[in-house]
């Protein structure tokens, strides 16, 4: 098997070498032709555009590189590799082309990828993605000592890396250096609380250090992260690879780009992509739903409502679409319609957390605290550590005058939010609620501490509460 594969690879290498030789003879290689039968028109167009740009300037390294990136984005590896190689030949200083070429070959041809990563690092010695790639390849090839040195090099060059402490921790765990492994994994989960791998490895270390309780807690965090976060977050982001993915022109690639745009707060960008996608794939409930979300974020309420209703016409049982449409209606004061939708959504999926939270919020606003509390407790039965549900329950209990319970619940919300890596704004909000509860309980010192925390997290403290801060100043 190995022998046969080597022959195939050898054959491909000869072909590429022949092309390169003829290139030297005629001033540059032919621009690879890419068969486009069956491709989506947008993909064909993207490839043609990059090819035409290259044809107009064949001596331009960036044009070759860009052509390679477009091919790479559509998983057309052999011609992409050829393009990267020519880009690297034309510009002997630019690290991007050997690095992207290495990424293309990382698993299929690790030895070649290693040489290309070395070349990228010769050009840009502290380029973290190439250091990481080099370390991964060395470890995969079983060269443990070299891999360890490479991971240390990444750690030194990119102190914020997740991948380096994760790898160094793994290597220490294998060597039996449990204290070193624990330190490394704790660093991983501190930087990325949603790291399933970080929590899982930490659990394994704690189990080996006779801390079964800590191990069980870490494993529970790993399970939560596996449910709610990207399991693939074991590698540091590679900006060059992200740039490649951004060139994907097929509809699913554009959909992924829209998701990234929405996640980064670029709702205009997301809306524009989804608008085009729903025209191309009008039957997709998910696309209409996501389009609705982008429109809602932009405050385009009527269009958002229409998008959610279209999503529901495609998938009448979509709890997500029902919940978000209900939230939208509730914000517009159409409480009855919103309530109906929440009920339909709960009937369809009794454990749908966004629905339970939205329904609770609606009843809270209407003053029906008992029903609001019932929804929140249902949500917490499903996910006892849900920061939003705990925060909502704490606020509700405070409103109901059950201050002791409110303080206890909000403290749990704060711990859960911290563990989940919540944004500063959410943490500040919980601190502020706690400050208010403690103030009402007459515990001024505690109230002041929480207000100070809220302010340090960027919250503007309302004038009515500022007096509480004064004695400190």
């Amino acid at each position: 098997m190995t022998e046969a594969r080597a022959l195939r690879r050898g054959g491909a290498g000869c072909l590429l070498a022949l092309v390169a030789l003829s290139a030297a003879a005629c001033g540059g290689p032919e621009i690879p032709e890419v068969g486009s039968d069956g491709m989506e028109p947008a993909v064909r167009e993207a490839i043609r555009g990059a090819r035409d740009a290259l044809a107009a300037d064949r001596g331009n390294a960036t044009a070759w590189g860009r052509f390679g990136m477009v091919l790479h984005a559509h998983r057309l590896a052999p011609p992409a590799g050829l393009a990267y190689a020519e880009a690297a030949r034309l510009d002997a200083d630019d690290h991007r082309w050997p690095h992207l070429h290495a990424r293309l070959l990382e698993t299929a041809e690790p030895a070649r990828a290693l040489g290309l990563a070395d070349e990228a690092l010769r050009r840009s010695p502290r380029f973290a993605p190439a250091l990481a790639l080099r370390a991964r390849v060395l470890e995969g090839m079983g060269d443990d000592d070299a891999a360890e040195v490479a991971w240390e090099a990444l750690h030194a060059a990119a102190p914020g890396s997740i991948e380096a402490p994760l790898a160094l921790g793994r290597r220490r765990l294998l060597r039996g250096d449990l204290e070193g492994a624990r330190t490394a994994f704790e660093r991983v989960v501190e930087r990325l609380p949603s790291s399933t791998a970080g929590w899982s490895f930490l659990a394994q270390v704690l189990l080996r250090t006779d801390d079964p309780e800590g191990a069980a807690q870490a494993a529970a965090r790993a399970r939560i992260a596996a449910r709610s976060a990207s399991l693939g977050a074991t590698a540091d982001p590679d900006p060059l690879l992200i740039a490649v993915e951004d060139l994907r022109a097929d509809s699913h690639g554009r959909e992924a780009r829209a998701r990234r745009a929405a996640a980064s707060g670029d709702h205009d960008g997301a809306e524009a992509i989804y608008r085009r996608l729903v025209n191309e794939r009008p039957g997709s409930a998910d696309l209409h739903y996501n389009h609705g979300n982008a429109l809602a974020r932009l405050g385009r309420t009527e269009e958002a409502e229409a998008a959610y209703r279209t999503a529901l016409s495609r998938d009448p049982d979509s709890s997500a679409a029902m919940a978000n449409l209900a939230n939208l209606l509730a914000r517009s004061g159409r409480d009855g319609e919103a309530d109906d939708l929440y009920r339909r959504s709960i009937a369809s999926d009794p454990g749908h957390l966004p629905t339970l939270l939205g329904a609770s919020s609606l009843h809270f606003q209407r003053g029906d605290l008992r029903q609001a509390e019932r929804y929140l407790r249902n949500a917490l039965e499903r996910d006892p550590g849900h920061p939003g549900a705990l925060q909502g329950l704490g606020q509700l209990l405070a409103t109901a005058g059950r201050l002791g319970e409110a303080a206890e619940t909000l403290s749990r919300a704060l711990a859960a939010a911290r563990e989940a890596g919540a944004a500063p704004g959410q943490l500040a909000g919980i601190h502020f609620l706690l400050a208010d509860v403690e103030r009402q309980r007459g515990r001024t010192a505690q109230a002041r501490t929480h207000l100070t925390e809220a302010e340090s997290l960027g919250m503007t403290i309302p004038p009515a509460f500022r007096a509480l801060l004064e004695p400190e100043r």
Partner: protein, 514 residues
């Protein structure tokens, strides 16, 4: 040697059938095979699951590898996927459970009358994949675990990065909870996944194996999930299970990544007397070995065992671990076949050729696996869309043979013709009623050391293999005795059987030499 063996079976995808949606996902996932002694005559018979159409059953008519088809086999109805063998009704003979895209079915062994089908309405009608019989509650009756793959809608279309239609990437489709059926006696089963805790974690399950992974005397379930963390359901002894793969280091690869788990085998790959786990995976992922560290969990030993690069280019499904050359070390065979075309490839006839890959044949040694494909060119040199794989001694010569199934291809039988000077022993571990004790582990003590082997057919992908524990014994080594850890957690020692035969050990009743 399939034609000479009397077995002629080709997996029928139904791709060209009228009304069939293009790129119907079950068709690329293939179907399985069961090796089991249906008629109790001491040799392994053969059941092949069909995708679109009726299954086929072949009775072993040795000497040698010779089979004759028995007509009138049930099956069909659901698009066929996997099969598990076990004594479901406690009458001492082996029944079958058949999974499919559509209603699963229990096929009772009706002796000379063939099989009797338990009502399809009793069973799940989602997408069932691998299944295994196993007495998890130690009540003397075989229960049943069924993995379910995904909540797939045939009208849902998927596309490659070039925008061309292809089979769906698993991440495009949500997974389903697996199913646990408790045997309530007389072949009646009740689904208890909710009460047991299994239903709490839906995932894209494909392979499953039942084994006491924690050494507490209770049988656990390990499930290979496609593109998600694997599950290790640890038996709590009260009818419930907790998922502990993330805690015990068997959920993610050594790099911390979830992989595309397909098939599973267990065996002692590090020579420490403890069962390790071998999982097959997608291309660009290792075939991963989780080495067991008793009382602690598992570590990924793939790279150390030489699997860092071997098999990295292929997509593995069925898997068999066995001492094929009787040298005392476990070898491995992995059925390969793609689930999507290579990037940039457009469909061209013959359609499934673009999904074909050759099997991987690995020779085990003291430290590492080595590629041994050159010695088995018929297996490693011919490309198919490899899926199910089952190992068993079909011809009674003491070395394991293989049956390989392929999507849109013929099932093929590979007779083991390895050169060897070692000896062998097969151990049939039986319950007092006569049925195989699935989940029993056999420890063989020889002058060359102690080895363990499973007496459990429920491994690989969609398939069921030889339920007897097989040992290769290096030339010159003498058998000193054997110990069986039964599925109820009890242990029993037996005197040394002679080599080169079948030792029948019955719980609490001593040894009978065949």
């Amino acid at each position: 040697m399939t034609s000479a063996s009397g077995v002629e079976f080709t997996h029928r995808t139904g791709r060209e059938d009228a009304g069939r949606p293009a790129y119907f996902m079950p068709e690329i996932m293939g179907s399985g095979v069961a090796l089991f002694d249906r008629d109790g005559d001491g040799d392994l018979d053969l059941y092949l699951v069909q995708g679109e159409g009726p299954d086929r059953f072949f009775e072993n008519r040795g000497p040698g590898i010779r089979f004759a088809e028995i007509a009138g086999t049930p099956g069909g109805g659901a698009y066929g996927m996997g099969v598990a063998a076990g004594d479901a009704d406690g009458d001492g003979d082996l029944d079958l459970f058949r999974t499919g895209y559509g209603p699963d079915a229990l096929l009772f062994n009706a002796g000379p009358d063939g099989f009797r089908v338990s009502g399809a309405e009793d069973w799940d009608d989602g997408w069932g994949a691998s299944a295994t019989f196993c007495d998890y509650d130690a009540d003397g009756r075989l229960d049943l675990f069924v993995t379910r793959y995904m909540d797939y809608d045939p009208d849902f279309s998927c596309f490659a990065a070039t925008g061309e239609q292809d089979y769906c990437d698993p991440t495009d489709v949500p997974g389903l909870p697996d199913l646990l059926y408790r045997n309530t006696g007389d072949g009646q089963f009740v689904e208890v996944g909710n009460e047991a805790g299994i239903a709490a974690l839906p995932a894209r399950g494909l392979g499953v194996v039942c084994h006491d992974f924690t050494g507490d005397g209770r049988l656990d379930f390990y499930v290979a999930n496609d593109t998600e963390a694997n599950h290790l359901w640890v038996n709590q002894g009260d009818g419930t299970f907790t998922e502990e793969a993330l805690l015990l280091g068997a959920a993610l690869s050594g790099f911390g990544r979830p992989e595309a788990g397909m098939g599973i085998e267990i065996g002692d790959l590090s020579g420490d007397g403890v069962f390790d786990i071998l999982l097959t995976h997608f291309a660009d992922e290792t075939n991963t070995v989780y080495l067991a560290e008793p009382g602690i969990g598992f570590v990924d030993g793939s790279i150390a065992l030489g699997l860092g690069t071997l098999g990295l280019a292929t997509t593995g499904f069925g898997v068999a671990l066995g001492d094929f050359d009787l040298d005392g070390f476990l070898d491995a065979v992995i059925a390969n076949g793609r689930v999507a075309r290579r990037p940039g490839e457009s469909p061209r006839p013959p359609f499934f050729a673009q999904y074909e890959e050759a099997a991987l044949v690995l020779r085990g040694g003291r430290e590492r696996f080595e590629d041994a494909g050159a010695a088995s060119p018929e297996l490693s040199g011919r490309r198919v869309v490899g899926r199910g794989l089952a190992a068993g001694d079909l011809d009674g010569d003491g070395d394991p043979d293989l049956v390989l199934t392929a999507a849109d291809g013929p099932a093929r039988i590979f007779e083991n013709v390895s050169d060897h000077d070692g000896n062998w022993l097969l151990v049939a571990a039986r319950l007092p009623g006569g049925a195989p004790d699935h989940g029993a582990a056999v420890r063989l003590h020889t002058s060359a050391g102690t080895r363990v082997a499973r007496a459990n057919p429920g491994v690989s992908y969609l398939s069921s293999g030889d339920p007897r524990a097989h040992f290769g014994i290096p030339a010159g080594a003498a058998i000193e005795g054997l110990t069986v850890r039964w599925s109820d957690g009890s242990e029993e020692a037996f005197p040394a059987p002679p080599p080169n035969g079948v030792a029948l050990v019955v719980r609490g009743a001593g040894t009978i030499h065949d």
